[in-house]
Symmetry: C2
Subunit: 647 residues, 2 copies
């Protein structure tokens, strides 16, 4: 199959470059550079160079509060855009806030509280221009089910359990602390460990779970399971079909769901009319409330909101558990909820930043989101983050800066102070329709298809997380998502690829013979490329894999009666680093090859690798003349050199 | 600093190769290949092809019991070597066994038991020819301190606690199960996750800890701390200096220590005389026992062995905890001890296999070691593995096969049945000297120096594990070793290297401009190489890093008034794989570049990467003509093409 020819190396003009060990770095420098690239790869202090002390102070302040930067060039024209955007998102956010609070098993008003304080804090500290801050469905659900595992949200008499609310604030506080710490200590890359595929599956599963939960409100079922898996929910639904459903509720729920879906369709089809979809939920709430109010349908069994506490956020610092067993529980829940909220928020920020080509500092975003949740936890808010649906509307409505969040916040304030009593007759069914229509957007079938097409293992991760959430629980789904993500990393570092290289005819280029079938092997020389850094986690595998390439090759050469393999050239270009275990494996490889009478030759080791080859004296062991700057150099030298002497 | 020239591309003959998407694989094939490379990379079933059923059965048996393979060609000449080797190692193993049992807080006889059954099992199932099986110092210490955390080894009256011994067998059983399972399910690569550097540090720390513990026996101290950290031990030692030390004990201990050290020195200096160092411990025991026996020094406060149970291993199946809380504790301890024993055993096996150039199947070794520990746990043995000192002696004494283990096992049997009562007067001090002289070899200062020279971060890992063990405890040291190893893997996958490439003068080769200062940049084209697979864990970083390269380059180009950058070429050779997060990042990169009026060009993507670029339609997005088989091709085409049109 594979051809093996002695090539005419004279055909290509060629200069041979020697590989010199790079100048030595001292430990301090090496550590400094390593730390810098790991934690300060964006060089946050670049702008501080050669500045006076007051300027530096101002730069620091400006770093913490970006509003000081863009605020100086803020104009009335920009404010016009922000005002319209803010008013548009508030019409979307008020009904969502009320509905999402119930997902977290909290009273309605906490949703509105959470759309008042955190957006204000973010407006001063955040660097994304398009994000809209507030409670979101998935985090509300996650927080609700984690909290519910610890404390029952309701007392036995059906009144809200005060301890549950306190634990919610505690978790929110620690979610904020987690987010702040990740950003401050520049550990933001940790959230990258949740793979895109796992997130798509997790979000989709959470959306299905949330939608299923809404069947309770939509069908007017009174006794409903507390579990979130699809089987328990379906049992609850079917079990009550004969005497638990309420037709008036179903009528209200379905008609407003159809109305909102049509509005959404219009908003999507004609981008000019995006506001139709944005105000549909608010119109639904107003109309439904009005209808129920005048028909007294609540007397017919239509469940209504009944009561929303009036007034602005009360302080809640004293409600956070600062001691006791709930401190630890709140901490654990907070870390998980904070990480997920951050993942969602940062992803949304990045999407718009790349769409509009501005730079988003991930670590700064985390500090901003952490701060808003810390402040929020002290002012009766629960975990908030960037909302995808509201951010998209914010963007389409033409917002220019975070001022749109301030506008939204102010209108929510007015709502809290004046309008909340009017929500008394709002039927739960219309809130359920609002939630269902909001979360269907999270089921990203297009992304799943793309996953299927481009990476089957990623697709499995996605499906695993999805089924974990809908058939078991949000926590299990999340666990599966994280586990699959980590398993993939472990596989990546233990089983790197290797390839046998051949020469592309008429060039000096050596390529994988599987990918380029016209590449020809070189007589007496086996060229193998290792496609990864060589670390303790894979050094043994790589050694054994290389020896296996050699054994196969020797068998083939023998069966074709070709000259025996004298040189094993390892193309090191992709080997970005090597550690002591790697060097150790190479030493063993060298010994084995010597037994087999084969010379070990290295081509194009990177600077760090070269340095380690020299400092460990491996370069001297195999002979410095066995290290070349390219495969072409190596082949040229080896095949023109006199018959190889025995090693 | 960096030169920027327009190169004369005509100077090198050049054919341009197109990059075609590789033929599509179906999911099943893809999964099969992935699984094969991960778990069956050594193609264990290769020899089974085209064989009849009985032959296959025999091959399976031969796979499980390699003795059926080499046994057929076993000769008397080989046996002679094995006999001598077996007799030599037994003289080393008997005193060590007795001493090591005390490290695990077990009665003396359990050490001898453990050198009888497990070596026999290994002889039939193991594939290493030079390894000598038995209890080893580090695993004994680790097991002892883990068990001690759960149950006190002694009753209040000073008699051995039966529950402790039972837990030891339970842990041994699960150590064996762990080892067997790792091998059977081909998960052997998991032990590669403990990095070489961490092991060097951990072993060194354990050796120091063990040696310090021996001060009790060596100085004849009666009341000694139970903690293993250096500070507690030193306090115990100094606290008893005035009235707790026994000069006769010290005399015995020090003189035999000097004797064994001299013997070791001779054995090392003249390799012919290796047997001097091998039999020195046994001679010490005999002489010391004889002296104490006739002088009745035990009456003067010299602590002696007093009693070793006579007879062969009693069965212990019924002593293993099959239920209750100790089942779980035994399991946990077993997993840890089993992994460490395996790491040590496999490393020793590999060392000799590479020295003598034979193949060692890691997974088979694990199955063999697992089996010997499972059988051992049922016959009153505790965790055993390959011992470095005894394996080295075995090798030097000229062993040929595992028959030397059988010889050793037989002599241990004779010892158990006939000689144990003679050990009555053996002073503990001489056992302490034997342990100290055995473990100093584990402190590998040369390896630590090599680590310092070749990789500073590896050195830190080594030192961290070392200090963790000696200043805190074996478990903490182990935890540090594992944590550092994992942190390194995480760093590796989150912060891959990138490099700016230039053309080596007179060639078509593009190399890192930092490593090759004479490489010249190409006008209007920025070439960046990404040195890693692009996965969710690093895709964001890579995108941002590439944009940073571009920003720096644009600044420099502007300051030198050179033509602006029109093309960004990404050299993809080292990018061995890309997942959907990676594709996603590339899409964002493409969008951002379009805003900046720069074309994105890819060079030499690997087959899997090419396939994903096509299946995700990213190739069509950037244009298939923007993907080249090499940087040289890309540069040649881009710089000869007419002025780039606006993207």
């Amino acid at each position: 199959m594979s051809q093996r020819v002695i090539d005419d190396h004279a055909e290509v003009a060629h200069h041979i470059h020697r590989v010199e060990p790079p100048p030595k770095q001292n430990l301090l420098n090496e550590l400094k550079n390593g730390l810098k690239e790991t934690f300060f790869s964006d060089e946050p202090l670049r702008h501080f160079k050669d500045k006076s002390a007051p300027t530096k102070l101002f730069l620091v302040l400006q770093g913490v509060f970006p509003i000081l930067d863009w605020g100086r060039s803020y104009t009335l024209a920009k404010f016009k855009g922000d005002l319209i955007a803010g008013l548009t998102i508030v019409s979307l956010c008020v009904p969502q806030d009320i509905a999402y609070a119930k997902l977290a098993n909290l009273d309605f008003q906490y949703g509105l509280y959470s759309s008042f304080v955190p957006p204000l804090v973010y407006a001063f500290m955040g660097s994304s221009r398009h994000i809209a801050i507030g409670p979101v469905a998935v985090v509300s659900l996650l927080l609700g089910s984690l909290l519910q595992n610890e404390i029952d949200p309701l007392n036995k008499d059906g009144s809200p359990n005060f301890a549950y609310t306190r634990l919610a604030f505690t978790a929110t506080f620690f979610a904020g602390v987690t987010q702040f710490a990740l950003g401050f200590f520049r550990l933001g890359f940790l959230i990258d460990f949740l793979s895109h595929a796992a997130i798509v599956g997790f979000m989709g599963g959470a959306a299905v779970t949330i939608a299923l939960q809404q069947l309770k409100g939509l069908l007017g079922i009174k006794i409903f399971t507390k579990k979130t898996d699809i089987i328990s929910v379906m049992q609850s639904v079917w079990g009550t079909v004969h005497h638990g459903w309420n037709w008036q509720t179903i009528l209200i729920g379905l008609s407003f769901m159809v109305f909102i879906l049509i509005a959404k369709y219009i908003g999507k089809k004609y981008q000019r009319l995006f506001w139709v979809s944005a105000i549909a939920p608010l119109i639904s709430v107003i109309v439904a409330t009005f209808c129920v109010g005048i028909t007294h349908a609540d007397k017919q069994g239509v469940q209504i909101v009944t009561h929303i506490h009036k007034g602005i956020n009360p302080l809640s610092v004293h409600q956070i558990y600062w001691t006791g067993e709930f401190l630890l529980k709140g901490f654990k829940i907070g870390v998980v909820a904070g990480m997920i909220a951050l993942t969602e928020g940062v992803a949304i920020g990045r999407t718009f930043a790349s769409k509009m080509d501005y730079n988003l500092d991930g670590n700064k975003e985390m500090v901003a989101m952490g701060s808003m949740n810390i402040v929020g936890s002290m002012t009766s808010c629960y975990v908030t983050t960037g909302s995808f649906s509201r951010s998209a509307v914010n963007f389409l409505a033409g917002c220019n800066t975070t001022v749109s969040n301030i506008v939204m916040s102010c209108v929510v304030l007015v709502t809290l102070v004046l309008i909340t009593p009017l929500f008394k007759y709002t039927p739960n069914a219309v809130l359920a329709s609002i939630i269902i229509t909001a979360v269907v957007g999270l089921i990203d079938i297009k992304a799943a298809i793309l996953l299927w097409k481009s990476d089957k293992l990623d697709f499995l991760a996605c499906i695993g997380a999805f089924f974990g959430v809908i058939f078991k629980s949000v926590e299990i789904g999340l666990l599966i998502a994280v586990a699959i993500s980590f398993a993939k990393i472990l596989l990546q570092v233990t089983r790197p690829r290797t390839a046998k290289l051949g020469k592309l005819p008429g060039t000096n280029v050596y390529r994988n013979v599987v990918q380029y079938p016209d590449a020809t092997l070189v007589s007496g020389i086996l060229i193998v490329r290792v496609d990864s850094a060589i670390y303790f986690s894979n050094s043994n595998y790589i050694k054994e894999r290389i020896l296996r390439w050699l054994s196969y090759e020797e068998e083939e050469v023998k069966s074709l009666s070709l000259p025996r393999i004298q040189y094993l050239v390892i193309e090191m270009s992709p080997v970005t680093d090597i550690d002591t275990s790697g060097i150790h494996s190479f030493q063993e490889l060298y010994k084995t090859l010597r037994h087999r009478n084969v010379h070990l030759v290295l081509a194009n080791p990177a600077p760090v690798v070269t340095e380690k080859l020299y400092s460990s004296e491996f370069a001297m062991l195999i002979g410095e003349d066995k290290i070349f700057s390219s495969v072409a150099d190596a082949v040229l030298t080896l095949s023109t050199s006199p018959k190889a002497q025995e090693p």
